[in-house]
Amino acid sequence: MKVIEARGVKKSFGSFHALQGVDLTVNAGECVGLLGPNGAGKSTFIGVVYGVTDRTEGTITTFGHDPRSSSREIKRRLGVVPQESALDEALTVVENMRLFGRFVTLPQAQVDKRIDELLVYMSLDHKKDAPIRTLSGGMKRRLAFVRALLAEPELLILDEPTTGLDPAVRHLLWQKVTDLKKKGKTILITTHYMHEAEVLCDRIVILNQGKIIDEGSPRNLIERHAPGYVAIYDSSHPSVSQLRERAPAHWAIYPQQSNLCIRAPTLSELVELQKSEATEPLLLRPSNLEDVYLKLTGEELTQND
């Protein structure tokens, strides 16, 4: 079953074209990651999905409804963790959640039970009566998850859910998202963290300047765009220029800050090159989604540039 089906979705804000014809289908039970640089159109697309952003052109249905005319029906079935946690700072944890229980039209008796369960689930039960302003960033984020899950949504939309969080909280949230995936929830997630996308998503959609530039499973994208292994060298090292010259033309060679990255199809070829120049790389690793991302969004510069 198709949960989201977008065809040729465009959105302009004045002369800025945030979305320039997006075709995207999200199936039930799938976890789809939207990746792209700031301003690529990720959050705009999410807004279009549940009707807080009105598309300029194209068609889209969520749960079979057009968000322009039936956003209420759609919003009954989804939960959103927005980029800003947007909690009522003056109220306590439980007051915030009870108010939200009203908005998602849960009966009061049921809502208290559900809040208790979810606070335990997100390890926030000890903060039940704490005012929001006393919570850390990580706690607020977890509470935003509690809020999104209150009405047991079928579709969960996570807009940069772990930005700015410490690794412990990030891992906790990843575990919860994996849990929810297993329970059959459909998940649409935007993120800047390639590792996050690789860990969580069945399918990744890379957006740049309002257009989808590629999509596929993490493995598939890596194999197609950046297969192999990457060695990272300190650019200031004297033998780096020789490395550059010795590397075959079809390898990817690109600078990254003060480092030089060399990607080869196999590990043995990289090791070979290394031996010939007797230079140790700072890091030698299998290629990952970050390499794909940098290549596709044009932030990777090749030898010819």
């Binding site: 549940y50 952003t53 009105d54 919003k75 800003e84 109220l91």
Partner: protein, 256 residues
């Protein structure tokens, strides 16, 4: 429709839940300010003023203060209050992920302003009772209701301002050039009848002036069918027109 009203009501509950957290800080200026004006202008300055149509200055000014409370309560709630909720606290961003839509937010804000304006008018009228300035017991409920009615166009001005300004400091300009003139020129502090004809006509475009007039006639026991229809009609017409306009503007702010 019932679903819309129910969801709008939750917006009221949200505002009330936050408001009551700091109840005394929130309510004290509303009651303290009119009391202060009663003493300084009513008793102080009033002692130098001759009777106005057989009324003491205090008696003349009192009803206008009830209307003023509704004006300030609703304007500040829907300007600074609403703007902070929308821009700094992102309250609506979270709300709009639920079945609540932009219309429910706007309707809810109007309901809240109506209730708050009514309650504040009730509170000030009670204070006036202590000054023995409320002639009949039934003035209290009617003044309460009228306070709510005055709040609607005034809240609309606040919401419109919220939709047009680019930063929160610009509310000061709206206050100085729109709200303050309405407050000072709508007949709260001086009778309009002796003023030049041009002024008397110009002041009819102030919804607040109609509210003040109705409140005065109510307190003075001089309401007639004709005055109720004219001033009440104008108040309601302004309320409908301005809230309609503000609804279009705020929707555009909430739904990009």
């Amino acid at each position: 429709m019932t679903e819309t009203l129910r969801l709008s009501w939750h917006v009221v509950v949200r505002n009330w839940t936050v408001y009551k957290k700091d109840f005394f800080a929130n309510i004290s200026p509303t009651l303290a300010d009119p009391s202060l004006i009663m003493v300084s202008l009513g008793l102080g300055l009033g002692s130098l003023i001759q009777d106005i149509n057989g009324r003491t200055y205090l008696e003349f000014m009192a009803p206008g203060l009830v209307a003023t409370t509704a004006l300030f309560t609703s304007f500040f709630e829907s300007s600074y209050g609403f703007y902070v909720r929308m821009t700094y606290e992102s309250i609506f961003k979270a709300m709009l992920t639920t079945p609540v839509g932009a219309s429910e937010v706007v309707i809810g804000e109007y309901m809240w302003n109506f209730i708050k304006g009514s309650l504040m008018a009730f509170g000030v009228t009670l204070v006036l009772c202590a000054f023995r300035l409320v002639p009949h017991y039934w003035v209290l409920p009617v003044a309460t209701l009228l306070g709510g009615l005055i709040s609607i166009p005034c809240a609309a001005l606040g919401l419109l301002a919220s939709s047009y300004i680019h930063n929160i400091n610009q509310f000061q300009t709206v206050y100085s050039f729109l709200i303050a003139p309405m407050y000072f020129l709508s007949g709260v502090f001086f009778p309009i009848e002796p003023m030049p004809e041009l002024f008397r006509w110009a002041i009819q475009i102030s919804p607040f002036a109609h509210g003040v007039r109705l409140m005065q006639l109510l307190f003075w026991g001089e309401l007639t069918l004709q005055t109720v229809l004219w001033h009440g009609g104008m108040l309601v017409a302004f309320g409908i027109a301005l809230s309609y306009w503000s609804n279009i503007r705020i929707r555009k702010k909430l739904i990009a």
